[in-house]
């Protein structure tokens, strides 16, 4: 297995290098000038030229790319054009909220959706199944920002139960940490609960129709045991894949939630960098996210062997 992991990790290097080249080129071909944003409308052409010079934007693109690549190879993701802070520091500040909220959402979704999906499959065609599937469709169709604002106005403004905005690290104490986590996590959970419920229902239903399940029922095995041990274990691989894909997409796609709840996460850092044309930040974020995607995919692949003994690395 170790050889497999190493092979997979080595395979990420060309992937990330390709991502880096594409991102760098795309960004520099996009219209927009950081110097213009810094200088404002009062800046003269000479001012702008000197700001660009100071930022290193006057150099040929190839030279800028090679310079950046050399920095990255030395473990330095560069410095923000605007606030002069190291990109690695900015990413470190921002990755925690996104990861914590992403993991909370997926944990909550798994806890709620898998039992719901199993029940729906078990009771397929009944009113319970129809109710669960209808709720899933509604939850999936609701725009995230709408759910977010509704929760804010009910639970923060009216009831004052939870804070409107921001993130507090665990070091600030459990009360602060959890109170800031509830609404943003709940907001996005609906969609993932809906997705996972439907996915679980479909895969469990497929397993339930297999011959070995009929045999298990014929031998008098209790229904909860059939569902939990046999059906769910055999349906686990696609569900775990879905959870992994969900977590990967959450990391980059949580930006709406981060915007609605003013959470300083990686998604907002990326959007702010795009708006400001802060190239080093954007390049750094995309590199880190690419690495995370690769890592999550690797973990998913490795987890398959836990559920299916036929899979070995």
């Amino acid at each position: 297995m170790l050889a497999y992991i190493l092979k997979r990790l080595l395979a990420t290097i060309p992937v990330m290098a390709t991502v880096a080249v594409i991102v760098f080129m795309l960004l520099h071909l996009t219209p927009g000038d950081p110097a213009a944003l810094i200088g404002g409308d009062l800046a003269t052409p000479e001012d702008l030229r000197r700001i660009r010079e100071q930022l290193g934007l006057e150099r040929p693109i190839a030279e800028q790319f090679l310079g950046w690549l050399w920095q990255v190879l030395q473990g330095d993701l560069g410095t923000s054009l605007f606030n002069q802070m190291p990109v690695a520091q900015l990413i470190a500040q921002r990755i925690e909220p996104t990861l914590i909220i992403g993991l909370t959402i997926m944990t909550f979704a798994v806890i709620v959706a898998i039992p719901l999906g199993v029940i729906a499959a078990w009771k397929a065609g009944s009113w319970i199944d129809q109710l669960i599937m209808t709720l899933a469709v509604i939850a999936f169709s609701m725009p995230i920002f709408l759910i977010g604002y509704l929760l804010i106005f009910k639970f923060s403004v009216e009831l004052k139960w939870f804070p409107v905005r921001g993130y507090q690290p665990m070091s600030s104490g459990p009360a602060k940490f959890f109170s800031h986590l509830v609404l943003p996590s709940l907001t996005v959970s609906f969609i993932y609960i809906a997705l996972l419920t439907r996915m679980t229902r479909a895969t469990v239903l497929d397993v339930l129709n297999q011959d070995y399940m009929r045999t298990a029922r014929a031998k008098g095995m209790a229904t909860p045991r059939i569902l939990a041990v046999h059906a769910l274990k055999n349906a686990a691989v696609p569900i775990v894949t879905m959870v992994g894909i969900g977590l990967s997409s959450l990391l980059g796609g949580i930006v709406v939630t981060e915007t609605v709840f003013a959470i300083p996460g990686i998604g907002r850092l990326m959007i702010d960098a795009i708006i400001r044309r802060d190239f080093p930040i954007l390049q750094g974020v995309i590199l880190v996210l690419s690495a995370l995607y690769v890592l999550i995919n690797l973990l998913i692949d490795l987890s398959y062997s836990l559920f299916d003994p036929r899979i070995r690395y």
């Binding site: 927009g32 009062l42 010079e53 604002y149 004052k160 139960w161 409107v164 003013a262």
Partner: protein, 530 residues
């Protein structure tokens, strides 16, 4: 039964979480911390290098100035204790107030101020003019310095008191020696608040702590002048990208002041008994239509004139707010209500929408249906609605308009392009500005008319205006008003740019906030939480 017991436990646990959350929210309302939800994030902490408004606003917390304007636009000493001007108006001698110290504990010296003036003078247009006119700027003692001019310059004190970007903020010499084109790394000032760099999270919040060593003036606070007393221990600027969330945070008491509440939520905020909604900026923003003067068709004065004949300011202002109290037509190139803001617009020329006349003017101009590229910053709450009105009006008079719609950052970069349309250039686009620079003839960037290289975006060329701007710079105070008027008249005649009115941005704050200073710039001294 077991299920019931577990449910009851879960409910109790939830109750604890909720109770602690409520306590957390209550804690957020403490009197020693003031939370300001800024309209934009502080991106750069060097207010000389960056000309962004938010860098300047940050500067007013951290730094102090030598002189400052009061609410009657009178120049008052701030860090300066006393000063003299020679009879020939060529020697300015300044003495600093005793006891001024930097945030790092070092005393403020005259050498610090000289270096600061020189650094600011590299970036600021009036500063550049001052430096060019000055034979010498030098420290003459620990707390005295002088500016010796080669010829009279009527704006020495007003330049040192200016409020528009970049403001001549004073910094320690070791920092001020940095080139004006290189960003400083430290934010060490002598102002009422210390910037807590270790707590700065760009894109989320910036934190300032009360500077216990600050020595305020004895006079009461009056606009930018007087005692700048910090009444709260901690100031947090938070950036909340969603307007609805920002409004909710204000209503929930998580922030004390919301700089720009979203217009659709104003009625909700106005109905909240704990919130005050009003304009703290007495002048607001001017919106305007900028032409690209170097390419057809707007290199033709008559074509520009035809566009100006379509302007009825109310039409442009109503799309920004349906609350008439928040806007006023203003036909002055300087902000109405400021020192030079006089309405001298000729009735027959401007501001009465007359599409028939505009069509006639356009036909007489020789316009042959050339494509006109109109820039549209779709993510800008002010520029986009103004663009839509302008688009309709240009179409109405028969112009061949093409809307180039994209984000504000791209539009800003496009506006700097001098290439013709075929190579990605532009023809026309709206813009807005606040009163801090645009109420003074020399500082109003849109009035710079020196052509390419010596004018701002659009690059108009008008020798009469340029000569008057130069004359304004040298004129003694008594003559400045007349010159400002002449600049306006020339600008109307040349149809330099279109004035689409003055819009007051409403702001919202909790009623527990006391001592907010009316200003175009959010100011934080004097503020107290009841």
């Amino acid at each position: 039964m077991n299920i019931r017991i577990n449910f009851a436990r879960a409910m109790r646990a939830a109750g604890v979480v909720i109770a602690t959350s409520v306590a957390t929210t209550a804690l957020a309302q403490d009197k020693d911390t003031f939370r300001f939800a800024a309209a934009t994030d502080i991106r750069v902490i060097d207010p000389i290098w960056s000309l962004e408004y938010n860098s300047r606003n940050h500067g007013y917390l951290v730094y102090d100035t030598l002189f400052a304007y009061d609410s009657k636009f009178q120049i008052k000493p701030q860090m300066v204790d006393s000063w003299t001007v020679s009879d020939d108006k060529l020697h300015y001698k300044f003495k600093l107030r005793p006891g001024l110290t930097w945030h790092d504990g070092a005393p403020v010296t005259a050498a610090d101020c000289v270096a600061s003036i020189k650094r600011w003078g590299q970036r600021d247009s009036i500063g550049q003019a001052l430096i060019a006119t000055a034979g010498e700027i030098k420290a003459t003692g620990t707390d005295t310095f002088e500016i010796v001019l080669k010829e009279p310059f009527g704006h020495v004190l007003s330049a040192l008191a200016k409020t528009g970007s970049p403001v001549p903020f004073m910094m320690p010499e070791r920092i001020a020696r940095t080139s004006g084109f290189e960003q400083i790394k430290e934010a060490i000032g002598s102002g009422p608040f210390i910037f807590a760099r270790d707590e700065w999270m760009p894109g989320d919040k910036a934190v300032y702590k009360r500077f216990k060593g600050y020595k305020p003036r004895s006079e009461p606070s009056d606009f930018m002048s007087g005692g700048k007393i910090a009444n709260v221990e901690r100031m947090e600027w938070v950036f909340i990208p969603s307007g609805a969330t920002a409004a909710a945070a204000l209503m929930a008491g998580e922030v004390d002041w919301l700089e720009h509440p979203p217009s659709d939520l104003l009625p909700t905020l106005q109905n909240d008994k704990d919130i005050t909604v009003r304009a703290v900026d007495p002048f607001g923003m001017q919106t305007m239509i900028r032409f690209n003067h170097i390419h057809p068709p707007f290199d033709n004065e008559k074509v520009r004139h035809a566009v100006l004949q379509t302007i009825e300011q109310g039409e442009y202002l109503r799309v920004l707010s349906d609350d008439k109290r928040s806007w006023e037509p203003c036909r002055s190139f300087y902000f109405c209500g400021t020192r030079f803001g006089r309405d001298l617009a000729p009735e027959q020329l401007l501001f009465k929408k007359n599409l028939d006349e505009a069509k006639k003017t356009l036909a007489a101009s020789g316009y042959k249906g050339e494509k006109v590229v109109l820039l549209d910053a779709v993510d800008d709450a002010i520029l986009h609605p103004v663009t839509v009105v302008l688009f309709d009006n240009l179409k109405a008079i028969g112009m061949n308009v093409e809307l180039r719609a994209t984000d504000g950052a791209t539009i800003f970069a496009l506006m700097l392009k001098q290439e013709p349309i075929a190579q990605g250039g532009w023809n026309i686009g709206p813009q807005y500005a606040d009163s801090t620079n645009y109420s003074v003839p020399f500082l109003n960037n849109a009035l710079r008319a020196g052509g390419v290289g010596k004018a701002s975006i659009g690059w108009p060329k008008n020798e009469a205006i340029e000569a008057l701007r130069t004359a304004f710079l040298k004129a003694p105070e008594a003559e400045q008003g007349a010159i400002a008027d002449k600049i306006q008249q020339e600008a109307y005649t040349a149809s330099l740019y279109g004035l689409t009115g003055q819009y007051k941005q409403l702001t919202a704050y909790r009623k527990s906030v006391d001592g907010l200073i009316d200003s175009p710039i959010p100011l934080f001294w004097n503020i107290r939480k009841k």
